[in-house]
């Protein structure tokens, strides 16, 4: 990679101006994160003061109206829903992009891409609504009650699929032609080329896609609230209802007061901590090489 960073010596003021204003702009992104963290902490402070952080993990249950604040089941709920959907959506999304580039005749590739772009913009309430009236009754037929971890995973999968699919699509478009021609000249069949040559070449883009989709999966609120059942428990099967941290906030924030309200902001903080853990471990996995 080339970088212009060392070239601070030029006397061209426009360049300096540009560099510094870009830095200013970029700082905004960082500042927003800071502001959000500070905001969450300030709002959560009262309850942290009263009950301390530990009880959010050791209390017998989540009944904030009665002073019980255990968040652990929701932490698991969030983790299960996220993991499940990322595990399904990632291969589906990547295969979708592969379809567009290497399998679909061009008359199909274009509308298919458009279709995925559309999926990216359907509001989460529509997904949730559809899940509630179509998907959940279907699941209820198999194994009551219907609203369940499974429903959440399926809806989340549809929702995050476009993110990974479009990112993968953009990365595949950048694969140097010479790799493809080299592979073809060796008589490598299509899938072998994709698996052996294309995927290694687009690691960085795929990785970015996974990070973004995971973020979206963790953060999704409305749809998950409508299909997951929202019972605070650690699920023992995928047919059990769960509640995620986001659903917890959305569900109870509207009518919560005092410590209950502050406790919901602790949910937000815990969620943020989860995201930070995710980002850090992603960095650790890639060891800084993936972004190159």
């Amino acid at each position: 990679m080339t970088s212009l960073s060392n070239n601070t010596l030029s006397r061209w003021s426009t360049d300096e101006l540009l560099c510094w204003s870009l830095r200013g702009i970029a700082t905004i992104a960082g500042t927003i994160v800071m502001l959000i963290v500070v905001f969450l902490i300030v709002e959560a402070l009262p309850v942290l003061h009263h009950v301390g952080l530990l009880r959010f993990f050791t209390d017998p249950s989540w009944h904030p109206a009665e002073g019980l604040y255990n968040l652990t089941p929701m932490l698991w709920g969030t983790l299960f829903a996220m993991t499940g959907s990322v595990l399904i959506a990632t291969p589906l999304g990547i295969l979708s992009a592969v379809f567009c580039h290497y399998y679909a005749p061009s008359v199909l590739a274009r509308p298919y891409r458009r279709l995925i772009e559309l999926l990216a913009g359907v509001p989460s309430v529509v997904y949730g609504f559809w899940g509630l009236v179509v998907l959940v009754p279907l699941i209820a037929e198999i194994q009551p009650p219907g609203p369940s971890l499974l429903a959440g995973i399926l809806i989340l999968t549809i929702m995050i699929l476009p993110t990974i699919a479009l990112m993968a699509d953009a990365s595949l478009a950048n694969v140097p032609q010479q790799y493809l021609r080299g592979a073809a000249a060796l008589g490598l069949p299509r899938w072998a080329t994709i698996r052996g040559v294309v995927f290694p070449a687009v690691r960085s883009g795929l990785f970015t896609g996974v990070i973004l989709e995971t973020g979206r999966a963790i953060g999704e609120t409305m749809a998950i609230l409508m299909v997951c059942g929202n019972v605070v428990q650690i699920p023992s099967t995928i047919f059990d209802p769960i509640r995620t941290l986001t659903a917890n906030i959305a569900l109870e924030m509207a009518y919560a007061i005092g410590d209950h309200r502050a406790a919901l902001f602790v949910s937000g903080l815990v969620l943020l901590a989860m995201i930070v853990a995710l980002v850090v471990s992603a960095e650790w996995v890639s060891r800084g090489r993936m972004y190159g």
């Binding site: 019980l68 509630l132 569900l251 509207a254 209950h260």
Partner: protein, 257 residues
């Protein structure tokens, strides 16, 4: 009443925030109010009862909407009830169970009865639909049946009424409780649910209105200081007979006839 002000005297913007249950009703009342007083604008926002209380206290809103009885620690606010709302138990339409005693409801909600055959229905597990912590429907329901929320063994926890109705409509073995007006309307529209009578009284807006139905909640609007001027005019208007048709249109029950 509202007619004490002439259309010219009143002007300005009224910000109302609070319970989402009340928002469509107050918004419609606001629109009619605006049509009487062209220089007035009524902005209705949602966010929940607690948000209404908080916003009014901070002076961020002129009026708050609270869809429950006022709590002890909210005595600093001035509350005005605008309508009532009954809470009724619903089942899927195909469920053969026609009535449940209060004890049976309690047993179902506390997990002592988990199969419909124990209350005269088919052999199928019961799906218990409960409301989320903090919702006034929940509080009213629990209060009437004298259940502690920690004892409730729910299979699904929901937020808004429509979510409850859609959940029960999509699961033949579910039991839930929602706002009676909403349920009545949906039932009339062919949604496969049915309202159960409670304590022998049929659940309908009619029984809520005449006071015989035992589970109901008042819908309030609140202010921080005693209302004057525009705020007072609006509150008076919202409590007047002139809006009873709107209240009925939104499937709530007017306070007085």
């Amino acid at each position: 009443t509202a007619q004490t002000f002439s259309a010219e005297q009143l002007s300005g913007k009224l910000v109302i925030t609070g319970a989402s249950t009340l928002a469509p009703l107050i918004a419609e009342i606001g629109k009619r109010f605006e049509s009487h007083y062209p220089k007035v604008r009524v902005d209705v926002q949602t966010g929940g009862s607690s948000r209404g209380v908080a916003d009014v206290r901070q002076g961020f809103a002129d009026i708050g909407m609270v869809s429950r009885a006022m709590k002890a620690e909210e005595k600093d606010l001035h509350a005005f009830s605008v309508a009532r709302d009954g809470v009724g138990v619903i089942l899927h339409k195909e469920n053969p169970v026609q009535a449940l005693t209060d004890e049976q409801v309690v047993a179902i909600y506390t997990g002592k009865i988990i199969n419909w055959k124990d209350v005269g229905g088919k052999d199928a597990p019961i799906t218990v639909v409960n409301k989320a912590e903090g919702r006034s429907t929940l509080e009213v329901f629990l209060h009437y049946f004298k259940i502690r929320n920690t004892d409730v063994k729910a299979h699904v926890v929901i937020g808004d009424n429509e979510q409850g109705i859609k959940t029960v409509a999509g699961n033949r073995h579910a039991i839930g409780y929602v706002s009676i007006g909403t349920a009545e309307y949906d039932e009339s529209q062919g949604v496969p649910i049915k309202l159960l009578s409670v304590g022998g009284v049929a659940a309908s807006t009619e029984t809520v209105r005449n006071g015989t139905f035992p589970i109901s909640r008042p819908l309030h609007i609140v202010t921080r200081t005693p209302p004057v001027g525009l705020t007072k005019a609006f509150i008076d208007y919202a409590q007047s007979k002139a809006v009873h048709d709107i209240i009925k249109q939104q499937y709530f029950v007017p306070m007085v006839d």
